[in-house]
């Protein structure tokens, strides 16, 4: 006697309807399957978020490095400008007669502040900065008519 062994094959997400060409999408047969799918999608979402955050962080670090270098260059250019110097120091009269330092930073917004630590005078140059910025710190002496005083110099550049 012929015996027919019946075997049930696993049916996954798609099932071909008998007698037709159309395919129906089955999101899952059991609650366990739905939970597993949700877990996988959540994992991918977390991974994408992490990769995105890492990319943003890397971009910000590179931009900060560029701003830092720009601030350092502006500081050096300002302290070494012959028209602002008197001997080894900045000239107080030259600082008083200077309106801006745009020639040292034509493409970025900037702020240069020179504060005489003895007299308390401050010379401020530049329109200021917007957004994130880096600062460079320096020091110089300021030559007045009769005395030389020390001054802090702070430079910030805009992005």
């Amino acid at each position: 006697m012929l015996q027919v062994r019946r075997q049930t094959l696993p049916v996954r997400d798609t099932e071909v309807a008998r007698g037709g060409d159309t395919a129906a999408v089955d999101p899952g047969e059991t609650p366990e399957e739905l939970a597993a799918l949700a877990a996988v999608f959540t994992g991918f979402a977390l991974l994408l978020a992490a990769v995105g955050a890492g990319a943003v962080r890397t971009r910000d670090a590179a931009e900060a490095e560029r701003l830092d270098e720009a601030a350092g260059r502006l500081l050096d250019a300002f302290l070494d400008a012959p028209e602002l110097r008197e001997g080894r120091c900045l000239s107080a009269s030259a600082l008083n007669g200077t309106l801006d330092l745009d020639r040292f930073s034509p493409s970025r917004s900037y702020r240069v502040a020179v504060t005489d630590v003895v007299l308390g005078t401050t010379w401020d140059f530049g329109p200021g900065t917007q957004g994130d910025f880096q600062v460079a710190f320096g020091a110089s002496c300021v030559a007045h008519e009769r005395a030389v005083t020390a001054a802090r110099v702070v430079v910030a550049v805009g992005s």
Binding site: P10, R12, A39, A50, V51, A61, G72, C89, C141, V148
Partner: protein, 175 residues
């Protein structure tokens, strides 16, 4: 063959997959950007500019207690006043406390508030040596263990005794 026999997406595999991805994501998200620290080149440059500015400043006369007599130093650039004081120290006992106080006042205003500084002045001639060290700024710095920026200025006085006067400034950002 668990998946084949059950005919559904294996829950355990999916959860393990989620766990691995979550750990990777958590590690990436937990990375805090490294605190920005000034490079040693920047620190040395800053120390150089501070020392140059400080030594050029004009000082009022200073009276140094000493033995047998006190000495009054004339007004002038800081480097000249300090060099004269160190030469006086080579000749006999000299109390540098008034100089240290004045240095502290100047450098305390000039150096960034969150930094520590150490200034040393020294004169040497033949076998004799005299000098002092002044410290200030943000305290609690172990100078023996820290990497710090340094600037040194050496004056050759050109005298018969070939006196060599040196000034050094150490700077370090504090946490």
């Amino acid at each position: 063959m668990r998946g084949a026999s059950q005919g559904s997406l294996p829950l355990l595999d999916a959860v393990l997959f989620l766990a691995v991805i979550s750990v990777v994501a958590a590690l990436i998200l937990a990375q805090t950007p490294p605190a920005r620290r000034d490079s040693m080149e920047e620190v040395n440059r800053y120390a150089r500019s501070v020392l140059d500015a400080f030594l050029e400043t004009t000082w009022e006369p200073v009276v140094l207690p000493g033995d047998p007599n006190e000495t009054e130093l004339d007004a002038g650039p800081a480097y000249a006043v300090l060099a004269e004081a160190l030469q006086v120290g080579l000749r006999g006992f000299t109390d540098y406390a008034p100089l240290e106080a004045r240095i502290g006042a100047h450098l305390g205003n000039l150096v960034r508030a969150d930094w520590a500084w150490r200034f040393e002045g020294r004169a040497q001639t033949g076998g004799a040596s005299s000098g002092f060290v002044a410290e200030g700024g943000h305290g609690g710095v172990d100078w023996s263990a820290k990497d710090y920026g340094t600037a040194v200025t050496v004056l050759d006085l050109g005298d018969v005794a070939a006196t060599r006067v040196s000034f050094s400034l150490d700077l370090v950002p504090t946490p």
